[in-house]
Symmetry: C2
């Protein structure tokens, strides 16, 4: 079982309109809603790969209820367990307006609810119980922090995982990433911008080395169209996607996290995990709906992805 933690969950809403024209009124042609936030995306991909996932984080208000209702209907039955902690505040919505003429998306992200100290304490309690479960193999800590939480929240969750002997992946940016590193996570999965923001280096291999010196045991940096670079104590590799991809990159990084952790749980080697992560990312970019992945594209990409040793 893999735990995913999403402290800033969202109900992702998509509106399709004919054509976006600022300062006019649009008839929404159709709407779609799904449970959102990076850890929920990770759990959905894990379940699609046949892995059990348990999601925790916060959910509250009408949007939180709707998120939980949709989550219960997500993935093969029984593979995703809802261990979300209730909040007094209302879970944020993200509204993505898709321009039917161009396919471009305009996003409006509501602010998250303010999390109280009591709610944070309830979450850490649930988290500790999940870490203690005998079949827990890994935990993914995903996304931004909602208002009200200490900036060191991820550092605390990393320490708990290490104390429980559970592999911990941290996927966040900014100050929460910087603080989280000090607690020595097993793996971080920054994108190029997050890695440069953390280290000041724009060259990925150099930045990854610096991030390891700051506390990450391993770094898997997602480099967009350039695939992924892993710098670990077993070696360094780069995985290259089979093609230049056109599509919607939303959720591609979350699919990569699911690829890395499912591969870990299956005992795959680092190059195999990296290949799976990049193939899942590619299949997510190619899927018609943001954050889904196309199974045929995944199998095809997995056969063609190239993983080569890299300077680390």
């Amino acid at each position: 079982m893999i735990i995913t933690v999403t402290l800033n969950t969202a109900l992702d809403v998509t509106y399709r309109v004919g054509s976006l024209r600022p300062h006019t009124t649009h008839r929404v042609l159709d709407t779609a809603e799904r449970p959102g936030g990076k850890g929920l995306n990770v759990a959905r991909v894990l379940a699609a790969l046949g892995h059990r996932a348990v999601v925790t984080g916060f959910a509250g208000g009408p949007a939180g209820d709707e998120l939980r209702r949709l989550l219960a209907a997500t993935g093969p039955a029984g593979l995703i367990t809802d261990a979300l902690v209730p909040t007094a505040g209302t879970t944020r919505r993200t509204v993505g307006v898709v321009d039917g003429a161009t396919g471009d998306t305009t996003m409006f992200n509501e602010p998250g609810p303010v999390v109280s100290p009591a709610e944070w304490a309830a979450l850490t309690g649930v988290y500790r119980e999940l870490l203690a479960a005998p079949d827990t193999t890994a935990v993914a800590l995903c996304g931004s922090l909602p208002p009200g939480l200490p900036v060191g929240a991820y550092a605390e969750l990393v320490r708990e995982a290490r104390a429980a002997g559970v592999f911990v992946l941290l996927d966040t940016g900014g100050e929460p990433l910087r603080r989280g590193l000090a607690a020595r996570p097993d793996l971080i999965k920054p994108n190029a911008d997050e890695l440069a923001g953390l280290t000041g280096f724009t060259e990925p291999a150099r930045a990854a080395g610096d991030a390891r010196r700051r506390g990450a045991r391993a770094v898997a940096a997602s480099l967009g169209a350039d695939g992924m670079l892993a710098v670990t104590d077993e070696g360094s590799w780069r995985a290259l996607p089979p093609d230049r991809l056109r599509g919607n990159p939303t959720g591609a990084g979350d699919s990569a996290v699911a690829g890395l952790l499912s591969g870990l749980a299956e005992g795959l080697s680092w190059p195999e995990r990296l290949g799976r992560a990049v193939a899942l990312s590619a299949a997510t970019v190619l899927a018609p709906a943001a954050g889904e992945f196309d199974r045929t594209a995944y199998r095809d990409a997995l056969a063609r992805v190239e993983v080569v040793p890299a300077a680390g």
Copy 2:
């Protein structure tokens, strides 16, 4: 007591953003929600004027629950009664994105739920009971029809009101207005576009005369900055707003309906009702939040609005 009927209710959501840039991601700086749909706006203004209002129409799903929760907290305690009929489908949301730099609003209106024949039958049952209440003085039939309802739905509701001897105002457009007229409502409140669409005449007095020949006993046409023209069997008047107004016209027409019906319930003359309607509209345009009205501006406008006899 005044009945307002809103067949296509909405949960109105407002997002304030720094500046709207298509195809980018926006942080929503703050959000506001309120019960929406024209009849709900009318009821809110009636309650603010001290009148009892009972709202009916449809509400369903999480957005419908939220709308009812907010409605219960609206206005002076006890003045608004919720007689909404549940639907299996989910009440639509309208999302208005306010550009903080320019003040302009971009609207995204979800489609309404499809109303079933059984839900429509439930509504007409509730409506008949409300019409039969001894203290019912008037009914306002407001806004568009949701999918699933017969285009003659308003004609049926007009006939019921007339059979019950209750004054009925119809505020809609297009084919539902055309059909509704045949059932001979006491008053219609079209805007200039709706009146021209109905009659083919762009000159308001001529169009109003034609609308009366088609079945409306009286016409109060809202002419935007030019105020309002009433053509009735007691005479014709034009009410002129005191100033050229700058602001948000959302809800100004609904405030006018509340002005006309509250004046009727208080036994005011036609010119007095018209003056109140125009003053409330002006105070709505000037209010900082769309669809609210500014009490000071209302008193000021009421003292300065000019009502003059018109050619009818």
